[in-house]
Symmetry: C2
Subunit: 338 residues, 2 copies
DNA sequence: ACGCGGCTGGAAACCGGTGTCAAAACCCGA
DNA sequence: TCGGGTTTTGACACCGGTTTCCAGCCGCGT
């Protein structure tokens, strides 16, 4: 550990007999540069094992090589998946990931985020649902000079990048699967009002029922807020009706777990008496009993793509990237009781 | 948005009629400063709504106001809890949180982290288990000039801060609870070899059994790696013995869920035929059926304290902070079958 | 009245990069 | 050989703070 100091751009310049500016040009891959000079400087850089100081760059460029992950997401599995996906992309770059969990109901939300972005001079920000559905927030980030990627929202904003999965089709497929298993009385638990993902999944349910030639019984519709308790309540409600459903689709896994609780409390056997399907394939899906049939969407891969869009805005087209979801068939959905 | 520019230290200096240096002294609360001057400058700062530029500070100080969270933790719930706890503490400060999930088995781990810390010029780093048990890693961080907080490791390193819960006592209490419920054949699934937390919980089990006057049957001991599958396998093994246990303590919730699966597969009814207790009180504990009796430790509060130690090394004593865990009694542990 | 040490506060250099702009070097045909 | 146009390169200011070093001012002892 006798290493004196990290080499600076000045060291490189001196050793290769050029000016700082030229070294800077090499680093930034400026095109107007003699090939021979470039190679000479690159050799010195390699020899010294020189790495530009990000803090100095940040100061000069008024922009930090940080990408911010802003979220208010109850789904730990998903948030962590996103973090890992982003890291996959930026691990060997100069970028770093800074996270900022927030409370989306805080009245000072916009101010806080404004301050945060300005302070850290973020390069780009990534918004997770449900925050990604907040247009005002996206605009703020953009106005502050960040590239923005919104995840999982289904509308194409003209200025922000978008990375989404196709929830609607996936739910439709899940419903088709239930129909194929012989279910006709299928209950549906929607996500909270105002969430685009919730709306998409709802539309998927309607489409799926239509395609299967089934009618939708309004008595079999309920709404939750993506949290366990709300799924539990909705399940109790649905199962307490005169002619209860033989299958329930919940708009996310957590609510599906709630439904399972409700069923168990009533002495129903799952899946024998009631089939359940969830959405997200979070850790809980595979770990409850019976293992939950659910829809998996490739969080980590999506985050990788999103990070690419953030860190190489020039490379990535400013268009929506859609990722296919996949129905994971487990034991919680079986043939309808006859 | 007609705001011209963010005010700089020069603006403050000019408006208050002093030099940059004096302003800098005010910001850094230097003690050798005339009270009148200080107040004058502070007034201008408030009036301009001036915030020092962190990038410039980072450059000058050779140290960024970033704290790094380094982890390789399969427990999303816990990692996110830590992130939130840290944010609780640093939200209104100039600090930001940068995360770095890593692979603890990577041969380049130390190099990667070395580069990472050096590049970002981290102020402090926080190590989560199992990484927090890596002495070499902790030393590296320290040598690089970071304050270090290790979470959940039970040994006091003389140079790093430590924030831990008292796993041993908590497990002991859980075992006492099972004994009180009339269980005598109690199985134990240990965590992976080499994990301090695993060792602590093991010791807690032994102590608890001893205190309850029960003997430990080696046939009822198994080992997992904190993941679902290993708990599942261990459960199958334990339940397949000639005289299976009536209760099983798993060293974390995920493995407990695995045990539950194993029991269900064998047609056992939980908790009627088998009581199960887990550890961590992650989301899954409350969401499986039956709800899991488990040990809860105050992750978020611990992370808050840890962040305090990191950002105010001068305030916080360099000693271990211990947090009490609590047994959460749910439906998965009941009176032993007679 | 004078000299001296302790505080305050300012000028200028510095941290390690990037932008501007003009000079130097090079190319080619006339 | 020269002029004009096109690269290529370097000098220098700048980003917004901190640090070093020194001058000015003060009160105080003699």
């Amino acid at each position: 550990m006798a290493k004196a100091q990290k080499p600076t751009i000045n060291d490189v310049a001196r050793l290769s007999g050029v000016s700082k500016k030229t070294v800077s040009r090499v680093i930034n891959k400026s095109p107007l540069l003699n090939q021979a000079t470039r190679e000479k400087v690159e050799a010195v850089i390699a020899q010294l094992d020189y790495v530009p100081n990000p803090q100095a760059r940040a100061l000069a460029l008024r922009r930090n090589f940080l990408i911010g992950l802003i979220h208010d997401n109850p789904n730990a599995q998903m948030v962590l998946g996103v973090q890992e996906g982003i890291l996959d992309t930026i691990r060997s770059t100069e970028f770093a990931l800074v996270v900022r969990p927030v409370d989306r109901h805080s009245p000072t939300l916009l101010d806080d985020i404004h301050r945060f972005i300005e302070q850290q001079r973020l390069y780009g920000v990534m918004l997770l649902p449900p925050l990604s559905e907040n247009d005002e927030l996206a605009r703020l980030c953009r106005d502050l000079g960040c590239t923005v990627v919104r995840m999982g929202s289904a509308r194409l904003d003209d200025e922000a990048h978008l990375v989404a999965s196709n929830d609607q089709e996936a739910v439709s497929e899940a419903v088709a699967w239930l129909a194929e298993l012989g279910h006709t009385r299928i209950g549906f638990i929607a996500g909270p009002d105002g969430f685009r993902s919730a709306r998409e999944r709802e539309l998927g349910f309607i489409a799926g029922m239509g395609r299967a030639g089934l009618t939708i019984d309004p008595a079999l519709l309920a709404r939750g807020n993506y949290q366990f308790e709300s799924g539990h309540a909705a399940g109790q409600h649905l199962l307490g009706t005169a002619t209860p459903p033989t299958a329930i689709f919940a708009s996310n896994d957590e609510m599906a777990a709630g439904v399972l609780h409700a069923a168990c409390e009533r002495g129903l056997r799952v899946p024998h008496d009631l089939s359940i399907i969830g959405f997200d394939d979070t850790a809980i899906a595979a770990h409850i009993w019976p293992p939950l049939t659910t829809v998996r969407w490739p969080i980590r891969a999506m985050a990788r793509t999103a990070a690419l869009k953030l860190t190489r805005p020039e490379t990535a087209a400013r268009d929506a990237a859609f990722f296919p979801s996949e129905l994971v068939r487990r034991a919680s959905a079986v043939r309808a009781p006859s």
